[in-house]
Subunit: 416 residues, 2 copies
Amino acid sequence: MALIVHKYGGTSMGSVERIKNVAKRVAKWHRAGHRVVVVPSAMSGETNRLLGLAREISAQPNPRELDMIASTGEQVSVGLLSLALQAEGLGAVSYAGWQVPVRTNSAYTKARIESIDDKRILGDLDAGRVVIITGFQGVDEKGNITTLGRGGSDTSAVAVAAAIKADECLIYTDVDGVYTTDPRVVEEARRLNRVTFEEMLEMASLGSKVLQIRSVEFAGKYHVKTRVLSSLTDPMIPVETEMQSGTLITFEEDPTMEAAVISGIAFSRDEAKITVIGVPDRPGIAYQILGPVAEANIDVDMIIQNQSVDGKTDFTFTVPRAEYQAALNILNGDVKTHIGAGNITGDPKVSKVSVVGVGMRSHVGIASKMFRTLSEEGINIQMISTSEIKISVVIDEKYMELAVRALHKAFELEQE
Amino acid sequence: MALIVHKYGGTSMGSVERIKNVAKRVAKWHRAGHRVVVVPSAMSGETNRLLGLAREISAQPNPRELDMIASTGEQVSVGLLSLALQAEGLGAVSYAGWQVPVRTNSAYTKARIESIDDKRILGDLDAGRVVIITGFQGVDEKGNITTLGRGGSDTSAVAVAAAIKADECLIYTDVDGVYTTDPRVVEEARRLNRVTFEEMLEMASLGSKVLQIRSVEFAGKYHVKTRVLSSLTDPMIPVETEMQSGTLITFEEDPTMEAAVISGIAFSRDEAKITVIGVPDRPGIAYQILGPVAEANIDVDMIIQNQSVDGKTDFTFTVPRAEYQAALNILNGDVKTHIGAGNITGDPKVSKVSVVGVGMRSHVGIASKMFRTLSEEGINIQMISTSEIKISVVIDEKYMELAVRALHKAFELEQE
C-alpha cells in the first residue's frame, strides 16, 4: 500500500488506444491497493501543433499568450485519461495546474515550481480516486498560466511526488532505464538498477536524455525516489515486476554498492570547440568573450582557461555543433577587437566523452585509468574538465565510439 | 468613445488568416478610440474534434471531464487572437473564464453564468489594453471548469457586456442581421434595423438561428444593447458604417416604429405532430403523456389540449421530425395502456409558421388576417398556438414556403 506518482510522456498518450493502455496500467496499480497520482504529457505532436499556430501569427509571440495556448495540450490529456480510467470502473478526477494549484514564478515558457498544494490531491486519494494532474504547467501568484518549458512534465511529476510525500515517482518512458552507456554504441551496455541523483544529473546533462535535468535536480533536492521504467511493456504485467524494473534514482549512495566506482560512460557527439588565442589575462575577460555568445542564446558547455604565460592566456569553450558558425561570427566581429585577442580558431568536429560515478569521490586513479585507456587506443585528448563525480574529455569526433567502448570495457561496466 | 464587446464565432476564428482579420477589425475599433473586449469561440471544428476524442474513449463521458477537455478550444483561440492583436501593435491580454472569473453553477456541459467579476477587465481597459475572454466557459465555486453548452459564446459575450456595463455588444456572424423571414424562401425578405429582445426570443426559438436563445434572454434581463452584424465584410470598413449595420436588438420598443405591427415570419420546417386520441380528462394526464417523452430527451415544442367532450379529450404536441419515431414508440408502449387512451396518430411531415411582433399586443385582427391569408391560399391549418407576441400554426410541410411568402406579403414586410 504505497503512495505512487506515475508520469507518462507524449508518446504514451499519443492516441486514444494508447491512453486506454495507460488507464489499464494505472488501474492495475490502483486495484493492487496503491494510491496513485498520474501526471501525463500532451498527446505527442499537440504542443508542436499549438506552438506552430502561434508562430504563424507572430514571429515573436508574447510568452504569456504562448503559455495560455500551449498549456491546453496537457489539459486535454488529463481529461481524456480521466475518462479512460472511469471507463475502467475507477473513480478519477483531473486537475489543471491552476486548480491544484501548482504555484510557479512568472517566467513564462520556463517557469519554476515554487509550491504545490497537497490538500485537494490528498482529499481525492482519501476518497479512493485516482488523481490526474497536468504536467508542464502551473499558475503564478497573479493567476496567469505558466509552463515549465519542454520536458517539464518530468519536473511536474517529481514535484507532485515531493509535495504529497509519495513513496516513489515512476517515470514511464520509451526506454527501460538508465544504461552504463548508449547500447547503440556499446553492445554490452548494462541497465543500472540504481543510480544516484548526482550521477543522473551528470548523465542527463551529458546527453543521456532519459529525464529532464530539472526533474533530477528536484528529485535530489526533495529526496524523491524516482524510477525510470518502460511504458512499452504489457500494461498488465504484475505490479511486483514493475516495482523492480527500470532504474531507481536514489538520493543516497547504496552502501552495498561500494565497489562500483563509476556508473556509466556518457557522451555527446555533436560538439564544436572554439579557442580564443592570446587573450590578455585581466579581470572580466571571460565575460567579455562569453557574454555576447550567451546573449545570442548559444549554449556554452565546457569552458577552459589555462594558467597565463606572459600575461596572455588561451580561452577555449565548446558549443553545440549547430551553433558553431554563429558563435564564431560573434567572436570574429566586435569581440575580437574589443578584447584584443590574437586569433580565433576552432574545430566543429569534436565529441565529448565522460566517465560518471559518485564512487570516484573516494577512489584515486580514475582519471589516470581513463587517460591511459584512451592513450592505449591512440586517441588524443584535446580538452579535459573535471567535477567531483565526472571526468570529461573532448576528442576528435571520429574516435568517439572507440573511446566509449574502450572505457566501458576498462571500467568493467558490463559486469554487475 | 464607447465601451464595446465584440463576439466572433468559430468560422471567423477558423484559420490563422481569419484570426488576423478579426485582429484587424478589433484594432480598427481600438484606434477609433473605443474600449474593446473580445469574446471569441473556438476555431471551427475544434470543439467537435475534442468531443470526438472523448467519445472514442467513453460512450458516456463524465460531464466534468468533457468540460475540462472542450474548454481548451476557446483557450487556444484567446491566446492566438491576443498574439494577432499584439502583432497589430496593440496591447492585448487574454483570459480563460476562471481567470476573470466567470462564475457559473456546477451544471457541467450546460452551466449557467451567475456572476462576472469586472475588476480585471476594467483594469486592463483602463491601461489601454484590448481584453480577450474565452466564450463558452466559466468556473464553479469549487474551481471546476464548466461550459455553457453549444452556442454558449453568444451568452458569454452578452454576459460580459452586462457585467462591465458596455454600451453595446456586437455579435459578428456569417449573416448580416435579422430578417423579416428567411431570404432563401422569400426573395423580398428585408433586414430589420431593430428588433426587440422579445421578438428575437420568439424568432430564435422558432428557427431563426442567428443567436443562441439564452444570450437573448440575458440581453433582455440585463438590458444589453446587442447588435447582430456581418463578420464577412472588409475588416477595414469605417467604424461608423459598422455601427449602423446589422440588426440592433433593443430592450425597448422603438416609439417611432409604432406602425410596425409585426416584425417577421419565422418558421420551422422539420416538425412532426403526434395526437393521443380519447384521453380521459383528469388531473396529471399531461404529465403522464409527456413525462416519458421528456425523459427520453425529446424536445416537445407546441402542446395543445382542447376542451374535453364527454370526459375525453385529444392531446396533440409537436416534436422535431428526427424524434418522431422514438416519441411514437414511447407512447405506444407503456404510456398508452397506462393512461387508457383510445388511439395514437401522427404526421411526420408538418411545418410550423409563425408571425412575430411586439406590435400585435396593441393591435387586433392580426390572427384573423393571418388565417384569412392562409385560407386564400388554400392552406389548411392543423394546429394553432398563440402567445402575446406571436401566432404559430402547424400546416402540411408542402405548403410551408407558400405560407411564408403569402404572409410576408400580406403583412407588407418588404416595406420599411
